[in-house]
Symmetry: C2
Subunit: 245 residues, 2 copies
């Protein structure tokens, strides 16, 4: 058996997320179907991070085992021929048997895009969160620093999560503003369900003056989802890059 | 009767272009339906430039006459409430009776976006033209200058055009490169059917080394569509701005 790694970009707009689910189209299922067409093997594709419905990826990473003799770097061509146009393998290669897209990852980078303008913009509607009240980006930057470190992130965990520990390490939260676009770039070792989206929703409420800029340490300490802000919508989120040793 | 001007952004992906046509959804028809819902009047909306199927607009301009007493600047809110999410009025106002979105325009700016990378990118597939062979942008810039001026642009006119004169004035053709993205920005007094897309297709063939960089004057002089390059696909084109006195 050979272990193949794929780096994948997708537009999540028309999918119910990464994970295969009955009745709903998923990214995982589309790629597994493409692998089946290429190799006649039913594989189980494992991703670095399962993205939710309508979340996008610039650099999702997944791996699978195969007995096929297609060279590792050729899987890109072969699978892209079979995939729908909103999913494309950016690169493929054969890796060591011990590699696991999820457990071998050292950290991940997510990007969340906010459009902070008055009138909705059709061209970016599926790739940003439209926030109409004027955000104070300096206040958001000040608050963002308080996420950096190792904390119990229970307050920033989506409901219906069954993960045992909610302790996570956030390495950086950078906020870049260009005109009416605000990007929040978060790096961390791993993330809880909806964690980035709740962090962003909370930072937006700080930027709008609805919460104090120094309230993040208090919010973390409560270990209570009700104490954090709203969950920013899925279409603004991008899994940008997964890092390995 | 009052004359109302609208500035409109739209994602043209799911439309058969600006103009209302039997059986196919059009931008014009969607906006006329929204105006009908708001005013109970069947109006005829006139646009500055009719965009083709899958072409986008950042600043399309259109006007219509109404007896409604909705204040000019309120049409934006009223129509956006009725419009599908891929069309949004960016601003609205009442103007003089003599204003005509098409004939009052002094010039227009189009933007054409090329993605010059190896692997298809799902996130920009509906908003760019994917060209895989490496383009020489300096050669394209050199060639682009030869479009500037007043010429008979018959070689750059799409078939099935019934316009009498094909003499047009091009004011500027700027090419901006940022990583793998190349934007070609064209300003002119008015444009023939498919003119920008044929100009772009020809520039791409020059950038790919398939045509000499100094061939544009010859191509214009032939006054023959067969002598110009291919028509670049619709999804890379944006009507960016319409200018008025």
């Amino acid at each position: 058996m050979r272990n193949i790694i794929l780096v994948i970009e997708y537009d999540g707009t028309n999918y119910n997320g990464w994970q295969a689910q009955e009745k709903y189209p998923s990214i995982q299922e589309e790629i597994e179907k493409a692998i089946f067409k290429a190799t006649k093997e039913k594989v189980k594709l494992k991703a670095a991070g399962r993205t939710d419905a309508r979340v996008h990826a610039l650099g999702q990473v997944a791996n699978f085992f195969t007995t096929s003799n297609i060279p590792g770097d050729k899987f890109r061509f072969v699978l892209n021929n079979e995939l729908p146009d909103d999913i494309r393998v950016q690169s493929s290669q054969e890796v060591d048997h011990t590699f696991n897209a999820r457990f071998s990852a050292t950290h991940k980078r997510y990007r969340y895009r906010i459009f902070n303008g008055l009138v909705e913009r059709p061209l970016i509607r599926n790739f940003s969160y439209h926030v109409t009240y004027q955000l104070d980006v300096e206040k958001m930057r000040q608050a963002a620093n308080d996420f950096i470190g190792t904390f119990d992130y229970k307050s920033f965990r989506g409901r219906r999560s069954s993960i045992k520990t909610s302790i996570r390490t956030v390495y950086s939260v950078d906020i870049k503003q260009k005109g009416e676009m605000i990007d929040i770039i978060v790096e961390g070792n791993s993330f809880l369900r909806n964690m980035v989206r709740i962090m962003v929703g909370t930072l937006i409420e700080i930027g709008a003056g609805l919460r104090p800029a120094d309230s993040i340490p208090w919010t973390i300490k409560q270990e209570n989802r009700n104490c954090a802000g709203h969950t920013a919508p899925a279409q603004g989120l991008f899994l940008e890059k997964v890092f390995y040793k």
